[in-house]
């Protein structure tokens, strides 16, 4: 009789691995000179956002353009309640993330019957409405000028300096990578992939398709919102023009270049190639857009499954044919 194969799981809780990866990321931060360190913080934020966008598009198969809106909600809401309600950062961020989760849930719920292009249009509409509210929000949003993030302190750590913010971003990104990976391989992740591949068969297996779709929106939105709260801290201001459609397209591009799969490597590779490399090699400077376009074209032509998808295929090829 065949033996049951060992489960592809680690012996310890994912929290342990997440914490180890997070601490390693912090250690890496302090090894960097000032400017690359700042880029590293931005990269960590993009990884968190891209994990969420990939979860929605690559795993659940839902195309949304609303990701910048949630980044904006996170940045503005946490800053606004810090400024106006004088709430400490340790409370303002969870409130913002909870709000992002709920708004994501609602957006997912109202667009349940839509897919593909139509879903993209509705989420684009949502982004548009958000931008209008942002510009007309008066004192709460700072109108077209944005808000200035107040200096805050954290218990035990002290003043939240730039280095502390980057450390928080790095640690969270490390943790998020491991937890999202775990989630995507769990019962919930399997259900998302099943819905993407064969919706009717998934439903017949007892998967509550509407619930799973709204759940994917909620998780993805919460990740983007969390990243948004960090972004405000990192930049020191909220910038109303940083949540445009262009940004949504950039997020989707990270996912496509990284590879639209259930892997968490793609959401690291995508922002690294398209954001970190142009930032670090300033020589690219004015040719940045050209570099961006060229990378996108090259990936789509040479590696249509994205970079991780193609590496995975190559690895499989080396281990021998399937049949």
């Amino acid at each position: 009789m065949t033996t049951i194969p060992p489960l592809p799981r680690f012996p310890y809780s994912p929290l342990v691995y997440g914490a180890v990866l997070g601490i390693a990321a912090i250690a890496f931060e302090f090894a960097l000179p000032a400017y690359p360190r700042f880029v590293f913080g931005q990269f960590a934020i993009l990884v968190i956002i891209t994990l969420g966008v990939n979860l929605l598009l690559g795993v659940a198969g839902l195309l949304s353009l609303a990701s910048p809106a949630f980044v904006g909600i996170g940045a503005n809401l946490s800053t606004a309640i810090m400024l106006r309600a004088h709430v400490p950062i340790l409370i303002s961020i969870p409130i913002a993330v909870l709000a992002g989760w709920c708004i994501g849930w609602i957006l997912g719920f109202v667009s349940l019957r839509l897919a593909g292009f139509y879903l993209a249009m509705v989420t684009f509409g949502f982004l548009d409405v958000f931008l209008v509210i942002l510009n007309e929000g008066g004192d709460w949003t700072g109108g077209g000028y944005g808000l200035i993030v107040p200096m805050t302190t954290l218990p035990l750590i002290g003043p939240v300096t730039l280095n502390v913010v980057i450390a928080i971003c790095a640690f969270t990104a490390g943790l998020a990578i491991v937890l999202v990976r775990e989630l995507q391989r769990s019962r919930i992740g399997r259900a998302w992939l099943a819905i993407k591949d064969e919706p009717i068969a998934a439903e017949i297996q007892g998967i509550d398709v509407p619930r799973m779709k709204t759940l994917a929106f909620a998780v993805s939105s919460a990740l983007a919102t969390l990243a948004g709260t960090y972004q405000a801290l990192l930049l020191g201001v909220t910038n109303p023009s940083a949540y445009s459609l262009n940004v949504a397209v950039a997020h989707l591009t990270y996912v496509v270049v990284g590879g639209m799969t259930a892997s968490v490597v793609g959401p690291i590779v995508g922002p690294f190639i398209l954001f970190v490399i142009p930032e670090l090699f300033r020589a690219i400077g004015q040719y940045r857009e050209v570099f961006y376009g060229a990378v996108l074209l090259l990936v789509l032509i040479l590696a249509p499954n994205g970079i991780t998808g193609t590496i995975y295929d190559l690895a499989k090829r080396r281990t021998g044919p399937g049949q």
Binding site: I4, P5, P14, L193, I200, A201, L215, V219, G322
Partner: protein
């Protein structure tokens, strides 16, 4: 246990079920047979709530129910699909685990943090899933990605996945379609043990008549949306209405075939495939395959699932491109030509999946088939008339949308589309899959007539029974290699066929 009473279903003006009734008793294996388009799949879809019924009731264990797909697991109903519905982004094991979705609890928090509870649940379910995979005869690595597995494995995974949700009733839509003899024998044994050991009641829709009559306790036959008979296999086999509408008067006798002319040795090779090697990505599928087709003959290409039949035909058409060897067409090498050029040179392929446009009418489908060739109005009309004469079934449905045709009609349309271009060689990829016996007989006589008119035909099949009397020669392919050549009747009996093609039952 499960009853449908006087159910009416119609869509788009077509009445798919007419006052249809069926009773399935606890613990039986019940077969549902009927010609293509009789409404068998619609009956299953209605039971699953995928299709809305206009009238009639469905009773499950004494309770009237209004089935919805999402609630089937609650009812204890599991189903499989005609074309296995496999989640390609998951591994075989994960596919089966999806079957336990409704009976497991891990949510976002437990799933992300991998709590003990989640891990214990996962471990228990995985152990059961592996056990079920072995029980249905799956022999490969459970961690293998589903998209890298062959058709037969997909069927096994789908059945295991359905069993994972602990159904009391199993609905199977053509479970033997596309399986080899050995796989079918294993499936029958497996279904019996599922019934005997797990007490599962089974309803299956099937075209494989010996399989149904051998396995089922009772059989219901339907025709044009209505039930025409119910009873034991013995009663159904001799029922006049069933014989007339489904089995055909010649059932059980040799299939009709055109006269097989003794071919002269001068017969010219119109297609000559020499040491062909090809594959997809990093995988080599076809290895050093050599075969030829002569003018005016029917050649069979026999082999089990995943043997390389489809890839070989596709390589002849130029996609994937050959990596080694040569394809000589009418004396000239066509190796490396793009598919459209190969088609233009006169080779016509009817692919395995009915290659028709569902949202266009029969007429429009035929028109589309002549895309890129210049035909005078008169010539075009003549060719359409010829198709209507060849396929009388299509003549009655010229304005119907492709998607509304029955399986048999779709296959006829797919062949007609290729014939519209007047090819000089016709390649058919498993044309009999999913077709009722009467339709397969019809197909056989159509192919025989094409051959008699001088069109050479190569048929890739695993259903030997209908091609054996037609074909003059046959090739046996396995593991991408041509392993034997000879008259189909000899090949069918040869050791190689028994071993390679039917497999060993103990396996």
């Amino acid at each position: 246990m499960l009853h449908m009473r006087e159910v009416d279903v119609s869509f788009g003006g077509v009445q798919a079920l007419r006052s249809f009734s069926i009773s399935i008793e606890r613990g039986e294996i019940h077969g549902l047979i009927g010609p293509n388009g009789a409404g068998k799949t619609t009956a299953i879809n209605t039971l699953c709530g995928v299709v809305e019924r206009q009238r009639g009731e469905i009773e499950l264990e004494g309770r009237l129910i209004d089935p919805r797909p999402r609630r089937l697991v609650e009812y204890g109903i599991g189903r499989t699909f005609q074309k296995p519905a496999i989640f390609f982004d998951l591994t075989a094991l994960e596919n089966v685990l999806v079957g336990a979705h409704a009976h497991s609890r891990t949510g976002v928090v437990r799933g992300s943090f991998g709590t003990n509870l989640a891990l214990t649940e996962e471990r228990d379910l995985s152990a059961r899933a592996v056990e079920l995979l072995r029980a249905v005869g799956y022999e490969r690595d459970p961690g293998e990605s589903a998209k890298r597995l062959a058709f037969g494995a997909h069927r096994q995974i789908e059945v295991a996945r359905t069993l994972m949700s602990d159904p009391r009733i199993l609905l199977l839509d053509e479970p033997t379609a596309g399986l080899t003899g050995a796989e079918i024998a294993r499936l029958a044994a497996m279904l019996r043990s599922v019934r005997d050991e797990r007490g599962v009641t089974i309803l299956l829709v099937e075209h494989n008549v010996p399989f149904v009559f051998g396995l089922c306790d009772r059989v219901t036959a339907m025709h044009e949306g209505a039930r025409i008979a119910s009873g034991t296999p013995v009663e159904i086999r001799i029922n006049a209405a069933v014989v007339e509408s489904y089995l055909g008067p010649n059932h059980g006798q040799a299939l009709p075939s055109g006269p097989i002319e003794p071919q002269s040795s001068e017969m010219t090779r119109i297609l000559d495939v020499r040491d062909l090697t090809s594959g997809y990505g990093g995988t080599t599928i076809i290895r050093d395959a050599s075969l030829h087709v002569g003018t005016g003959e029917i050649v069979a290409l026999l082999g089990r699932n995943g043997a390389g039949k489809t890839t070989l035909l596709n390589t002849i058409l130029g996609d994937p491109r050959p990596r080694g060897g040569d394809v000589v067409w009418q004396g000239r090498s066509i190796r490396g030509l793009a598919t459209d050029r190969v088609v233009a040179a006169g080779i016509g392929l009817v692919p395995q999946q009915y290659a028709i446009i569902a949202r266009q009418s029969v007429d429009d489908n035929l028109r589309l088939a002549t895309f890129g060739i210049r035909l005078s109005r008169a010539e075009y009309a003549a060719r359409v008339d010829e198709m209507m004469a060849r396929f009388p079934r299509l003549a009655q449905r010229r304005t119907s949308l492709g998607g509304s045709l029955s399986g048999g009609e779709r296959q006829m349309l797919a062949i007609a589309k290729v014939l519209m271009r007047r090819p000089k060689l016709l390649l058919l990829d498993e044309p009999s899959i999913g077709l009722a016996p009467t339709i397969v007989d019809e197909l056989a006589s159509i192919v025989a007539r094409l051959r008699d008119e001088g069109l050479p035909v190569m048929i890739a099949e695993q259903n030997v029974t209908w091609v054996a009397p037609l074909a003059r020669r046959a090739y046996l392919i396995d593991g991408g290699r041509i392993i034997e050549e000879g008259p189909p009747s000899v090949l069918a009996e040869s050791e190689a066929l028994a071993e390679r093609y039917l497999g060993s039952i103990e396996a």
